[in-house]
């Protein structure tokens, strides 16, 4: 006979079955071997297919108590209530009993009691037959035995139909599976069968058992269970890429606070205090006491003079009364140019290139293109020979580094630059996308900061650029809380991000 191979699991179970003199139920087998029933079932099938065991299936009818039946056992059968009233108070009119028990309950109890002859109804009176009370106790005994699984006498078995009809008992058909070993083939397989290894262990290797065993073949074509790796955020990677591009072009990264004073966000940039954009619709105000301005006195003086009368720049200024209290108010920064203002005021030695990337805040209602907080870039270039055409050149250089070769310029207006420009970049498949604003800082801004060389500045909303380049159609997806969405975006954009 060919050597039959057995896995460890099959071997264990088969030994257990062989030790039983008779058929053994599968649930019992599971309990004894400590193997879960579903696994036992699977192994039995394997053993059957090898002809080592045979299975017998029978169907047993089992009686069980219903919830009502359980209640009757604990609290008493409905007719017991009736009989106890009659016992203590004698015969009663039906109408009277209705009043005590309620119509429905009375109906149930009367029906049951009459069937067993425990009561009679004589001209509207319900009369108790005391010698028939044992009928009720026998019914209760039946319920008790069914509940505890004890056997019923023939006489009791006849009462079951009534109890079934009363809904106190129910019948269940139970499938019983039993197995029995095919002796002597099973015994032989246990003695001489070869080992099948399902999971290779260190013990198998060290003991040398692997030499006498066969490793079970797997269906390697099935898909495995899911394992999720930790992945970087696709938008954060994109921003990092931009930072690296700027670094390679000679820009030094700087940063500033998100809670900023109006001084750095507006005043230092020559934006008038009565300008509409400094109002409640366009700026977030924070509920904090004004802090002392972290700017040099001389600079604050310059801001005042230049706003009011143009200072020594040759400008007319804005001609209004400049107020230091307004400048000290705290807001959430609305533009990264606030950081550039700080950088300029720190008196960097030309030539210089700086950039800052961070969150800016504007009270915009949320829709597919707008959010009240988003990432922005601002960069500045200063040198003796810095000029507008060189600024345009720097912008073209940056986009070339991002792989975008076509750039279009349009005159624009920003309060702190002149000349100012807005730009579009051609991004497939969208076409021209407006992505940046730029300009040469106005002489007033440079004088406020104390800078003597021309400085160009350009900024971008990074969210817009990311959406165009990464094929994201809704700005909210850049800040999605849905982990599966983030993983998907990473997968879709790998080639652009790495």
């Amino acid at each position: 006979m060919e050597k039959i191979s057995l896995s460890d699991g099959e071997r264990k179970l088969l030994s257990a079955i062989v030790n039983f003199p008779n058929k053994v139920e599968i649930s019992e087998l599971s309990r004894i071997s400590g193997i879960p029933e579903s696994t036992v079932n699977a192994i039995i099938e394997l053993l059957k297919s090898k002809g080592l065991v045979r299975e017998e299936v029978t169907y047993n009818i089992i009686l069980e108590l219903t919830p009502e039946g359980k209640k009757a056992l604990e609290e008493g059968l409905p007719e017991e209530k009736l009989t106890s009233i009659l016992l203590s108070q004698g015969a009663k009119q039906i109408s009277e009993l209705e009043g005590i028990l309620g119509k429905k309950e009375l109906q149930l109890s009367l029906g049951a009691a009459r069937k067993r002859g425990v009561v009679d109804i004589v001209s509207g009176n319900v009369v108790l037959n005391k010698d028939k009370l044992t009928e009720i106790s026998i019914d209760k005994e039946v319920l008790k035995r069914i509940s505890s699984g004890k056997e019923l006498t023939k006489e009791m078995a006849e009462r079951v139909e009534v109890l079934l009809k009363r809904g106190l008992v129910k019948k269940e058909i139970k499938k019983v599976r039993k197995v029995e070993a095919e002796i002597p083939i099973a015994k032989k397989a246990l003695e001489t069968g070869s080992n099948v290894i399902v999971k290779l262990t260190s013990r198998d290797i060290l003991s040398g058992r692997w030499k006498e065993s066969i490793v079970k073949e797997y269906n390697v074509e099935l898909l495995p269970p899911r394992v999720s790796p930790g992945l970087p955020h696709f938008y954060m990677l994109f921003i990092e890429k931009i930072k690296e591009a700027l670094e390679s072009l000679g820009f030094a990264e700087v940063n500033g606070p998100i809670i900023e004073s109006e001084f750095w966000n507006f005043d230092a940039l020559f934006q008038a205090q009565d300008h509409p954009s400094r109002e409640i619709h366009d700026t977030f105000w924070v509920d904090l006491p004004d802090q002392e301005l972290d700017a040099k006195i001389e600079m604050i003086e310059r801001v005042k003079n230049i706003h009011e009368t143009g200072g020594t720049t040759g400008s007319k200024g804005w001609r209004y009364r400049w107020n230091i209290e307004n400048a000290a108010r705290l807001i959430l920064r609305t533009q990264m140019t606030a950081v550039s203002a700080r950088t300029l005021a720190s008196n960097p030695k030309p030539p210089f290139r700086f950039f800052a990337i961070g969150k800016v805040f504007r009270p915009d209602l949320i829709d597919s293109r707008h959010l009240p907080e988003f990432y922005q870039l601002d960069s500045i270039l200063g040198s003796e020979d810095m000029s507008f055409s060189m600024l345009l050149g720097a912008i073209v250089e940056f986009f070339a580094k991002m792989g975008l070769k076509e750039v279009k310029f349009k005159p624009a207006y920003f309060p702190f630059t002149e000349p100012s420009v807005e730009g579009y970049v051609k991004i497939d498949p969208l076409g021209w996308v407006e992505v940046f604003g730029a300009g040469m800082f106005r002489p007033e801004v440079l004088e406020i900061a104390g800078i003597s060389v021309p400085v160009g500045a350009w900024g971008m909303g990074l969210d817009r650029l990311a959406m165009a380049l990464l094929g994201v159609d809704d700005i909210r997806k850049l800040y999605s809380k849905n982990i599966e969405e983030l993983r998907k975006q990473f997968a879709q954009n790998i080639s652009k991000l790495m």
């Binding site: 930790g230 940063n255 105000w285 969150k359 055409s389 005159p411 207006y413 021309p454 982990i483």
Partner: protein, 551 residues
Amino acid sequence: MPVIYINIQKLKKLIGKESLSEDDLNEILFSLKSESKKIDEATLEVEVNSDRPDLFSVEGIARAIKGLTRKEMGLFEPKVKDSGFQAVIGEVPSRPYIAFGIVKGIELGEEGLKELIQFQEKLHVTVGRNRKKVAIGIHDLRKVPSINLTYSMVSLDREMKPLGDDKYMKIKDVLSNTQQGKSYGDISVLGGAHPAILSDGEIISLPPVINSEITRLEPNTKDLLIDVTGTEKTTVLKTLDLLCSVLNEHVGSLIERVEVIGPGSNDYRKDPQLGRTKIRLNENYIGKILGFEPSHEDIIESLLRMRFGLSEEQKGEIEVIVPEYRLDILHQIDLVEDVAMAYGYNRIPIKNPTFHTEGSLLNYTLSGKVARLILLGLGFQEVSSFTMVGEEAKMFEGENDRVIKIKNPISESMSFLRPNNIVSLLLVLRENQHVELPLKIFEMGDCAFESNGRVIQKKTIALALMKDELSFEEIQALVHSFLSSIGIDVKYRRDENKYFISGRTARVIANEIPIGILGEVHPHVLTSLGIKYPVGAAEIDMDILSKMIKK
């Protein structure tokens, strides 16, 4: 950016060019900083910039286009004469400055009336700073009761017939019952009185609130009386100049001056003054700023196409005459931009930057890269959330600290600044309870809170672990692994806070310096946020960490 709607036919008529194609029009407006879109057969939607208030009107746009297309270059010459009207100005402390002007011979029509009101409103919102700084009243000249006008404070009990009403009512009622009264009534009211313009004893205007029904504009109005009031003299005068000059673009129209007398005994003017400034423009300066040298001829032609005038040219300096309606020219730099605009931005020869500088990234950025690398290796998924959060921020306040509230939030769920990043991580975990657990996430970002009146702003990195069953050691092991991998010596000290379970909270000490916090999130926080599973979390100060990594 202000958006206006103009009638295409009217524009073409004013330009005098019936055959201007839509593409040409778009291109010209593009070089004037504007974007335009035809919204129906008759109407063009134009997005203009607030530095060119003269372009808030079809007349102003027509004038600019005539220049750029070389149909009419150089200064526009207004047609002006005296009107015979006289205005006596009193002391009006809350709104001291006023200017008057008359423009006659305007064929308004329905469309024209709408556009005029649109022009007025856009000026109110921008130059006027929502009527506080400047407000404009436009009247049908024929309906003004007399050629004598006065401007003074009048009692709130005085009566007038406000625009839109046929009854007289007290000024105080106009302020409290009309739409304009409610919006603008607070601006100039002072001591039981309000500024008013009167003619023959009748109030014809209550600036900046509302005009009178008496001088109401109609589609068939031909002659206009314009008043401009405000709190800053030069802006008031220039706004009147702007209006009169721009409206004079209509063929056959005439500006008529009003004599303005007072409040001082020596105060006398004729409005509008239509004053023009002269600015010296240095050709070397143009070259320096732009980075290339347009030829002298190109410069001259550009200035003329942008409707400037020239008074002198000598040795590389041009004296430029700035028209009365160009409120944006503060410095010769503003002329340089106009030269570049007319020249054409896309014609400017692009220069490669000539100077070299060393690039660098902040410690925070470099440390962030290192941190990300290690955390990814530990199986953490990176997330990126908003800095603004809702009321849940309060659960994370430190012992003596306060969360920072936003005074004008756009929604309740974004009305506070997050005092730490752990709150954001929990908000993310809440949305991902259906995902396979365990789930590990991290975020690097800004947070802020108030401590003893001072604002503290930090950059931190926060981690969180959500599982069916959690033990403190699991989150601690991850933090320990993270910091040790960077070569940091880590110790822990028992700590307490509002959002971690007492007895399961530790301060993280790195190289002897407190650098963060770690613990099991308290069930009251989890329940409050609707999170069904236990969460372990930690937060590390990135400013301190990045300094350590640098070393």
